[in-house]
Amino acid sequence: METVNVKINGISIDVPKGSTILEAARLAHIEIPTLCYLKEINEIGACRICVVEVKGARSLVASCVYPVSDGMEIYTNTPKVLASRRKTLELILSNHDRKCLSCVRSGNCELQKLCRDLKVEDESTYDGLRTKYELDTSSAHMVRDNNKCILCRRCVAVCEKTQGVGVIGANERGFDTNIACAFDMGLGETSCVSCGQCIAVCPTGALYEKDNTDQVFAALNDPEKYVIVQTAPAVRAALGEEFGLPIGTNVQGKMVAALRRLGFDKVFDTDFAADLTIMEEANEFIDRVKNGGVLPLITSCSPGWIKYCEHYYPDLLDHLSSCKSPQQMFGAITKTYYAQKMGLDPKNIVMVSVMPCTAKKFEIGRDHQNAAGVPDVDIAITTRELARMIDRVGLNFLSLPDEEFDDPLGRSTGAAVIFGTTGGVMEAALRTAVETLTKEELPSPDFVEVRGTQGIKKATYHVAGMDINVAVASGLSNAKILMDEIRSGKANYHFIEIMGCPGGCVNGGGQPQQPGYVRNTVDIKALRAKALYDIDSSMTIRKSHENPAIKQLYDEFLGKPGSHKAHDILHTSYVKRTVNNY
């Protein structure tokens, strides 16, 4: 690799040519603070926190975007640099709603940390006029509080670049600049897909999910209600981060213990419904292949992806699997089969789901998601909300024992747990579909070609005398590439898995927020995915169709996959939507 020599704070170092000063400094063991910068997503040099002195430069330069050149002399912590960074923070604070004590990000706010690191002593140094904004609560899943927005534009960049949605941007200009939707529409009026990636990258408390924890506590304290909780696969791979554990720590056992101590009547696992999804979806796939149905078949687990498809590819809705998402299947089975089995009135069951996802809050309110005549799922909370509930009741999460999910809806397979990462649904489906088609046992259940964190993966498998072309995409801008191929008729895929968030659910919009400097240096989604693959490989049952609880469910209640009853309870329909309202 071609390198250049630079001097950072007097120390000579060779760094790759084309590096930014920020990257070069990192090689010299110096972490320059950043605020707006997100590698490859938001490289705009706007906040000016990362300024450094470069010998000979007319002014300070933004290290996040400034390329090094041979012989460059860089100073990262001169009095001028430190004073400038502090002043930048003081200016930001002068137009920031400083209700830090009641802020959802208190304690993991990037602005707060910078203020402490850079020794801001008086938050009111530059106080003057402060812009006041109404909260945008128009969407089902989140709140925008521009009074806390620092205009770093990470949300804008991730919405447009990573997700290809682009429903937010800067309105007005100068001091009045604010991030909002075109023509000041509410987010809920736009073609926002509810993925929550904007929340995941927000450094402050300007963006947050609609908090439903009070409703959960109210249900738990209502003696009339039978409160059942389900937890999505990806939650166990990330919840520990909220309690200081390394990224990618599997905390399934402690999570179950915590939920039980919070007072849930049953602690079940969405993984059960993931196995069920595979049964239905694999059946649907085989049916479409054998009977000339619409191909490629595309997965429907990710509600952000579904909403995206409805808005942007309404002409291709026939490609979507009619399967409800695992969350909804779980709720539907709980309120029909399980209620019947246990003699419970579905009306008295409160189905709470813990999800890595904000779009799940939107999904529970969709039409045709009420198999028992009541909503399949009543409350969907994020991984972050669960962590806050655990904190609120004073559970010492780290010292909790490891406990098991309840039976029978807590039983699942290795195929189910990898639903939480990109490629996981595809792999799980292949494990079942291939064995169904060939009627032979797979030599190995691993389909490594569809693993990994890259945005698009493709593979061809020779199964029962035919070539099956599959593709996997995560992140909606990657989905767009595949969808455009299908729309143009160029695609020859049979089966596609799409997840709305890059990397899949492990990196969902409801997962613990990691600050910019972590996101820029660590592949969070790969670490969390590894936790799931480790669980899978450690399990004895790794194929959905081998889950005994699933077999029992079909035997006792549903009949067989794709049956009339299964359709009534486990399948749904989609609506054509438009792009925004104009």
Binding site: R48, V51, S59, K80, K87, Y126, G128, G169, R173, F175
Partner: protein, 596 residues
């Protein structure tokens, strides 16, 4: 052939004060008089002396009629055009002789020291007729370049001429072209920055309105030099006349094969498209301009990469300002030595300035670099009205600074202006007299930058707002000496930390007024007085009972009933009601009211 040509100024100033109506009357009266085949009426671009508009010049005598009204037209036609008798009452005073004849306009104080290179054709040709441009040597430079010179030779000529960017920064134009040429790419672009946005500046507008082809020709030359075949002119939508004439010019040039495929049969292709800006000042910043052309919100992006490396649509791009381009064909035709013979050691050629503020001859002037500020103000500008004293001149608009009287004799060039804390800028020159408060001036410019900040980077978005608030506090009489220090400190911070030139230069008006007029700031915060009598919060209007005759005029004119008093008795002003509009001072016949 016509025996007489009547040139009517069609610049924005004259147009808004009546040119269209005058043209209508002229054509009507000429028809009526049966002179249709003898007299040609030509609508030209700006003549520069906007204070005297609308301007009508009759050739061959070159009679310069000023402040012409439509009702004057029959007299001009019947007396001058029909009978050959000059209409003395409309002739510009300075061109009158005792014998009743007229002298050349070029002998007047306003024009004598001017040297028109960029404005060569403005006010001379009909900008909507390509033949007139060609008749004055237009497109000859492009022809020569395409048939006689290699691209490197063209760039060498520009380099040798010493031309520097006229948009503000003064970057050597030849070097800019060389850098753009050096970057290999499948596609390159040539852009013209016609997003002139400084308050009071209209140099580029006048060139576009008066001589649009010169810009097209220069862009084609630039395209040949750097290896680009597509040009974009980014022009403000608020310049409707310029937009219209550019559109006409592009159409005509395409028709003549001077734009489009295979120009002059040389195999060189070049075409130009217009892009209209929505009036954001920041879009004059090169990266914001390109971002806007790309269809995005006009916000600057970090440099490097510079436009020459990665500009419009990510391709190497050359971006020059209108006035810079307007010099190019002349440099090619007359040679770089000719151009370099004008100006100072490091600033060659001429510079166009828009004179405004407290000056008699407001308008557009083009002077050789090195002309002193005194010459511009006192001679060309005709001095300051009402015998007031020169206090300062502001150059460079919101990015520039104030030049105080102590630097009145400084030769104007890029480096001199920077050395005294101002800058050339695009060429706005606003003259201030003793009645201008320098704190108020700084506040005015800051108000502009606060409005025009794009809001992308923190120092500019919030910092300029806080600067403005501090200045406002000082003008309200609520400032302290510490506030002046805090103000300066914030200024230096904003200069050092802002993303683009707008923010980096926004504090200049504050810093230069503090530098030269610190005592005025101190008066505001310590004495709670505005020495120039501008800041309303620090003023009171009082009636001297000795001088007041009790005529009641002031009481009747006061819009807020703040003045009371009986007839023929001394009046007094209720300070709590006074809105400090100054109407009473103007009306008092006895000089009994004063500001304190």
């Amino acid at each position: 052939m016509y025996r007489s040509h009547v040139l009517v100024c069609g610049g924005t100033g004259c147009t808004s004060s009546g040119t269209p109506k005058i043209l209508e009357c002229l054509n009507e009266e000429i028809n009526k008089a049966g002179l249709k085949n003898e007299v040609a009426v030509v609508q030209t671009g700006c003549h520069g002396l906007c204070a005297l508009g609308p301007i009508v010049i009759v050739y061959p005598e070159a009679t310069f009629y000023s402040m012409v009204k439509p009702e004057d037209v029959p007299e001009i036609v019947n007396e001058h055009l029909l009978k050959g008798r000059i209409v003395q009452r409309l002739v510009y005073d300075e061109t009158k002789t005792e014998e009743g004849t007229v002298t050349s306009i070029n002998e007047t104080a306003f024009y004598k020291k001017q040297h028109r290179v960029a404005l060569r054709n403005c006010g001379v040709i009909n900008p909507e007729n390509i033949d007139e441009y060609i008749a004055t040597g237009g497109y000859e430079a492009l022809g020569r370049v395409l048939t006689e010179y290699t691209p490197d030779q063209v760039i060498q000529m520009i380099t040798d001429s010493g031309l520097r960017g006229r948009g503000g920064g003064g970057f050597p134009t030849g070097l800019k072209w060389k850098l753009a040429r050096a970057n290999e790419a499948d596609q390159k672009y040539v852009c013209c920055n016609a997003d002139e946005g400084d308050p009071g500046a209209f140099m580029d507008r006048s060139i576009l309105e008066g001589d649009p082809h010169v810009v097209l020709e220069a862009m084609a030359i630039a395209g040949y030099a750097i290896g680009a075949n597509q040009g974009y002119i980014y022009v403000r939508a608020e310049y409707p006349i310029a937009v219209k004439r550019l559109s006409i010019a592009i159409e005509q040039a395409r028709e003549y094969g001077l734009l489009g495929k295979n120009i002059f049969g040389t195999g060189f292709d070049f075409d130009i498209e217009l892009r209209l800006g929505a009036g954001a000042f920041v879009c004059g910043e090169e990266t914001a301009l390109m971002t806007s052309i790309e269809g995005n919100r006009g916000e600057p992006r970090p440099r490097p990469p510079f436009p020459a490396q990665k500009g419009l649509f990510g391709k190497p791009t050359l971006l020059n300002n209108v006035e810079t381009y307007a010099n190019i064909p002349q440099i090619i035709l007359n040679g770089p030595e000719w151009f370099a013979s004008m100006g100072t050691e490091k600033s060659k050629g001429t510079k166009v300035f828009a004179l405004g503020g407290k000056i008699n001859n407001t308008g557009l002037v083009e002077i050789p670099m090195g002309t002193t500020l005194r010459e511009v103000v006192e001679e060309i500008g005709g001095g300051i009205p009402n015998g007031k004293k020169f206090k300062a001149a502001q150059t460079g608009g919101p990015s520039g600074g104030c030049i105080p009287a102590e630097h009145f004799d400084i030769p104007i060039d890029y480096d001199n202006l920077i050395s005294i804390g101002s800058m050339m800028g695009s060429g706005g020159l606003i003259v201030m007299d003793e009645d201008n408060c320098m704190v108020d001036i700084a506040k005015f410019f800051l108000e502009f930058t606060v409005d025009e900040s794009c809001g992308k980077c923190t120092p500019c978005r919030i910092g300029t707002k806080r600067l403005h608030e501090m200045l406002d506090k000082i003008t309200q009489g609520q400032g302290t000496l510490e506030d002046i220090d805090k103000l300066e400190e914030l200024c230096y911070y904003i200069k050092e930390n802002s993303l683009c030139g707008l923010g980096q230069s926004a504090p200049n008006p504050v810093l230069s007024t503090i530098k030269y007029f610190r005592d005025e700031y101190v008066s505001h915060v310590v004495d709670k007085k505005c020495p120039a009598g501008v800041c309303k919060a620090l003023l009171s209007y009082v009636i001297d009972p000795e001088l007041c005759k009790g005529c009641t005029l002031c009481a009747r004119i006061c819009p807020n009933n703040a003045i009371s008093g009986k007839v023929k008795e001394a009046h007094s002003i209720d300070q709590s009601k006074c809105v400090k509009c100054g109407a009473c001072i103007e009306k008092c016949r006895f000089g009994a009211i004063s500001k304190r």
